[in-house]
């Protein structure tokens, strides 16, 4: 793993900053906002989550703006394993998928047997997608083999469910480590690589996402297997969401601009996107009272 090509931090930051200056207006802005909704993993990951909270979130996921059928459903909702059954029930008949965080989320500091069992139980409860965390303790101590083996084991436990591997880039320290972890996760079988749990600061950033996307690009070149990308944590505004789409477009190209290969994990982003869509369509901003708060 130490032979993985390095990343220049200053250069990566500059490239991300220059892409963040793209000016996305009018029809392309509407297109991007629509895509942001379709690629969204609407998330609630709180100790206080209840069946009622999940039910409300599911309703919002299916119909983000009641009375406006032009707004698409989001890609998935993302909940803790114990809430998966509730989500499956409330999403029945819709095309919104259920994603769940397994493997001792968010720290990943537990036994492999427990991580595997948690994954199996979560898939059995009806989750279509598993968001696992890597063992950062093992990664940072240089035990790459262990990180790799864990991902392979969890991937197997997933069966048909899609596996997103969370690198928790805020704990990895350097872009070199982010790139190494990205390559490791993809080699071990990840369907998606994902930036963060949202429980650690900094969470997703543009340069970190750029480094991960470039790793995907190199991996696809070597293996031919496309891997998806998910940015999660701290993405709250439409402007941020559009910046991620620009980064994606100019790094991985339009083939990645689909929920099958790109996700935005967020809990509060959706209403800002809806507000901006309304603004683009009508030319005026609506009060927050016109958007449901679930």
């Amino acid at each position: 793993m130490r032979g993985v090509r390095s990343v220049d931090e200053v250069g990566a930051d500059e490239r991300a900053a220059s892409l963040a200056k793209r000016s996305i207006k009018k029809s392309s802005k509407l297109w991007a906002l629509d895509l942001a909704v379709r690629c969204m993993d609407l998330t609630t990951l709180e100790g206080s989550d209840t069946p009622g909270k999940v039910a409300a979130l599911c309703a919002k996921a299916i119909r983000p703006k009641p009375g406006d059928s032009t707004i698409p459903s989001v890609a998935a909702i993302c909940v803790y394993p114990a809430r998966v059954a509730d989500a499956v029930e409330h999403l029945r008949g819709s095309n919104v998928r259920v994603a769940s965080v397994a493997t001792a989320f968010p720290s990943g500091q537990s036994f492999l047997s427990i991580k595997v069992a948690e994954t199996e139980d979560t898939v059995r409860a009806g989750a279509h997608e598993i968001d696992m965390v890597i063992d950062r303790g093992a990664f940072l101590s240089g035990d790459y083999q262990r990180v790799y083996d864990e991902i392979v084991a969890v991937k197997e436990a997933c069966g048909n469910a899609h596996l997103k591997v969370i690198l928790e880039t805020g704990e990895l320290g350097t872009y070199d480590a982010v790139r190494r972890a990205s390559i490791l996760a993809m080699a071990a079988g990840a369907d998606f690589i994902k930036t963060s749990t949202g429980k650690v600061q900094p969470a997703a950033t543009l340069p970190v996402s750029l480094v991960m996307m470039e790793a995907i690009r190199d991996f696809v070149r070597e293996t031919g297997r496309p891997v998806g990308f998910k940015a999660a944590g701290g993405i709250r505004t439409s402007k941020q969401a559009i910046a991620y789409l620009v980064l994606l477009y100019e790094t991985l190209g339009s083939d990645w601009m689909t929920p099958e290969r790109f996700r935005l994990g967020a809990s509060t982003l959706l209403n800002d996107v809806l507000m901006q869509i309304d603004k683009e369509r009508t030319g005026v901003y609506q009060s927050g009272d016109y958007f449901t708060i679930d």
Binding site: S6, V7, R22, E260
Partner: protein
């Protein structure tokens, strides 16, 4: 499944095409006709002659500017001479105050200047907005700080100003080159007569307004427009004590010849054919950005452009693939659009020169690559171009193209890289891309270039001296070194 396979396939086909995002131009006032800035005010030219300046992206006329003749140049130099006595004896802290004021006014009028620069020169608005104008203001700000500290800059040397400086600047960074020239000259206590390039005089005309707005004493800055003839009248004028020229090596040689034996101080900043050297351990994705920034920035109209890419053979293939992919994402078009990466070629003459050299490259046997790229119908355009299979002997590897054309060569060892990089009549800049710090230093010691960038390219700062070896000129601009050129230190 969130979406059906069919929907997904359809979506994948959609291209995220950016809608036009043009910078507003309604706040910019360009006069139909400009005089000369002499003695603190705009005056009618004695020559009575004017010539048009056009927008190279549309070929439409923007304004007419004056063509200064011998009488006009003489008037300007005399105005500068009259102003010299009081300006050079002004309390240095007061000189600083004027420079700070100019710097602030450049910042206040930054949007306007960026638009003027882009319309007159063809460069993308994102570059004039984010590079040219902020750096111009930074130069005035930096040299304002030196004005009252000259004795600390050159301890025990009794620095004294020279007199009237005659300055001739090129068309690739009109306002920035103006700032590089005028800011140190004024800080050191000189007065100036500046001649902007004939294809890009407009930002200098706005600068003349700024001088008036700043209430700069009359005659401290004079601006005469015109073509090469006006430039030679200026540098040969006996009232001029110091000549600073940035432009082609050809003209630089003419100036040096004309000035021989006159006792005038001279600095020349001329052409370049910089090597951008990528080692096998380099961070490739960032190196690609550096290569792109090195040669496609400002359509390659950059004297220090990284126009020769030297790649270690072991990584040539993946690097070329990444580079070609990256070229396909460059957005060429309306320079005023905020998303444009490559604007218009500055003039028809320059476009023809680029076309001629590119044809020679094809004839000599290099392999041409250009991404699919639609060029606008009107205006002067050239797509981002790269040549592989280039030999050291080809014209495209030796001559300055001054356009968006990259020649790619390979090397096997660091020693070979140094040898190839130095094998050019020029020596303005070089780039080194490697993860290994010791190799950067090893290379920097051996490269005969005024600037060596490591893991970056085309990075400028007012505090850092800039200038060349060999046919790239002599003297330094920027930093303390830049002040020395405008002072008598004996």
């Amino acid at each position: 499944m969130a979406i059906t396979k069919k929907q997904s396939a359809e979506l994948a086909k959609q291209v995220f095409e950016y809608a036009p995002a043009p910078e507003a131009i309604d706040h910019v006032h360009i006069a139909p006709s400009y005089g000369l800035f002499v003695g603190g005010k705009m005056v009618e030219p004695h020559s009575k002659k004017r010539f048009p300046t056009i927008n190279p992206a549309t070929e439409k006329k923007l304004a007419e500017v004056s063509e200064a003749d011998a009488v006009d140049v003489d008037r300007a130099v005399k105005a500068a001479g009259r102003a010299f006595d009081s300006w050079s004896h002004l309390a240095p802290s007061k000189r600083a105050r004027y420079l700070f004021r100019i710097s602030r006014l450049l910042q206040e009028r930054a949007r306007e200047l960026a638009v003027v620069e882009t319309m007159d020169g063809g460069k993308p608005i994102k570059e004039s907005r984010d590079v040219d104008i902020p750096l111009s203001a930074a130069h005035f700000f930096y040299y304002a700080g030196w004005a009252d500290k000259l004795e600390w800059a050159f301890p025990n040397r009794k620095p004294r100003p020279l007199g009237v400086a005659g300055q001739v600047i090129p068309w690739n960074f009109p306002l920035l080159m103006l700032a590089w020239k005028i800011a140190p000259a004024l800080a050191a206590g000189n007065t100036v007569v500046l001649k902007p390039a004939e294809t890009t005089p407009l930002s200098a005309m706005v600068f003349a307004e700024i001088c008036m707005q700043a209430e700069l004493p009359p005659g401290v800055v004079n601006i005469v427009t015109g073509a090469g003839k006006t430039g030679s009248l200026l540098v040969e004028h006996p009232g001029v004590k110091k000549v600073a020229f940035t432009g082609s090596t050809e003209v630089g040689k003419l100036i040096q010849r004309a000035l021989a034996g006159t006792g005038k101080k001279l600095t020349l900043e001329l052409g370049g054919k910089a090597a951008n050297i990528v080692f096998e351990d380099a961070p490739l994705d960032q190196a690609v950005e550096g290569i792109v920034n090195g040669i496609y920035f400002n359509q390659g109209h950059v004297c220090c452009a990284g126009s020769r890419l030297l790649v270690q053979e072991s990584i040539a293939e993946p690097l070329m693939e990444k580079l070609k992919r990256r070229l396909s994402t460059l957005r060429l078009g309306d320079p005023l659009d905020k998303n444009t990466d490559i604007g218009a070629i500055n003039s028809r003459a320059q476009l023809e020169k680029i076309q001629g050299l590119v044809e020679s490259g094809i004839e000599e046997g290099a392999v041409l690559y250009q991404p699919e790229c639609r060029l606008p119908e009107r205006g002067f355009w050239f797509p981002p171009t790269l040549f592989t299979n280039v030999s050291q002997s080809y014209r495209i590897a030796r001559e300055e193209i001054f356009g968006p054309v990259l020649s790619v060569l390979t090397f096997r060892t660091p020693a070979e890289a140094v040898e190839k990089a130095n094998n050019t009549p020029y020596g303005l800049s070089a780039g080194v891309w490697t993860d290994k710090g010791s190799r950067i230093l090893w290379m920097a010691e051996r490269l005969r270039a005024g600037v060596v960038w490591a893991n970056t390219f085309n990075r400028f700062d007012p505090t850092s001296p800039f200038g060349g070896y060999k046919e790239s000129g002599f003297g330094r601009e920027g930093g303390i070194h830049g002040l020395a050129a405008y002072l008598d230190l004996n």
